[in-house]
Amino acid sequence: AQSVSQHNHHVILSEAASLELGCNYSYGGTVNLFWYVQYPGQHLQLLLKYFSGDPLVKGIKGFEAEFIKSKFSFNLRKPSVQWSDTAEYFCAVTQGGKLIFGQGTELSVKP
């Protein structure tokens, strides 16, 4: 079965620092990939998604992710984080119409 690994459990950054969160999935082939964000006390919101085409995907709030098929990876990046980016970030991949989530990465941005 498909699985998703997010290697960073908790990341602490200062404002304006660059961000990269790792995400790897286990099975190859055609995949749909997603990053969701969950702000404290709120529900999951879609940041960006990849279905096909350009492997560099741009999402909301200045986030982007790069799909590297050979590495089974879909890392999330942002060049300069803000305090308001403090949240938990989930990578997910579809399998049989279902979303398989990683364990999440908690991002804390210090002002």
Partner: protein, 115 residues
């Protein structure tokens, strides 16, 4: 701005009581998912419907949990009897399944506390 709605947003109940959570998917969406989120287990898929038919409920404890879609605008998740270990946030998500490009949109969740 179409959204998934869930009621109640918070529920505190005593062990042994029945709990019913409701979800209204985005109009026109044909898939509905129920997830449970806890600190220990993260996000777990409990049940999944497409066109109101249950496709997968393997993540759900069958003896106490049940999920239904009485109509296209309402999905329910019921726990009977509830136990303290059921305390979690329960999210509903809906999507428009094309079989290839499925995106799920999440509701605000129901925070359940079972005493």
């Amino acid at each position: 701005d179409a959204r998934v709605t869930q009621t109640p947003r918070h529920k505190v109940t005593e062990m042994g009581q029945e709990v019913t959570m409701r979800c209204q998917p985005i109009l026109g969406h044909n898939t509905v998912f129920w997830y449970r989120q806890t600190m220990m287990q993260g996000l777990e898929l409990l049940a999944y419907f497409r066109n109101r038919a249950p496709l997968d409920d393997s993540g759900m404890p069958k003896d106490r949990f049940s999920a239904e879609m009485p109509d296209a605008t309402l999905a329910t998740l019921k726990i009977q009897p509830s136990e303290p270990r059921d305390s979690a946030v329960y999210f509903c998500a809906s999507g428009l399944s094309s079989g290839i490009t499925d995106t799920q949109y999440f509701g605000p969740g129901t925070r359940l506390t079972v005493l």
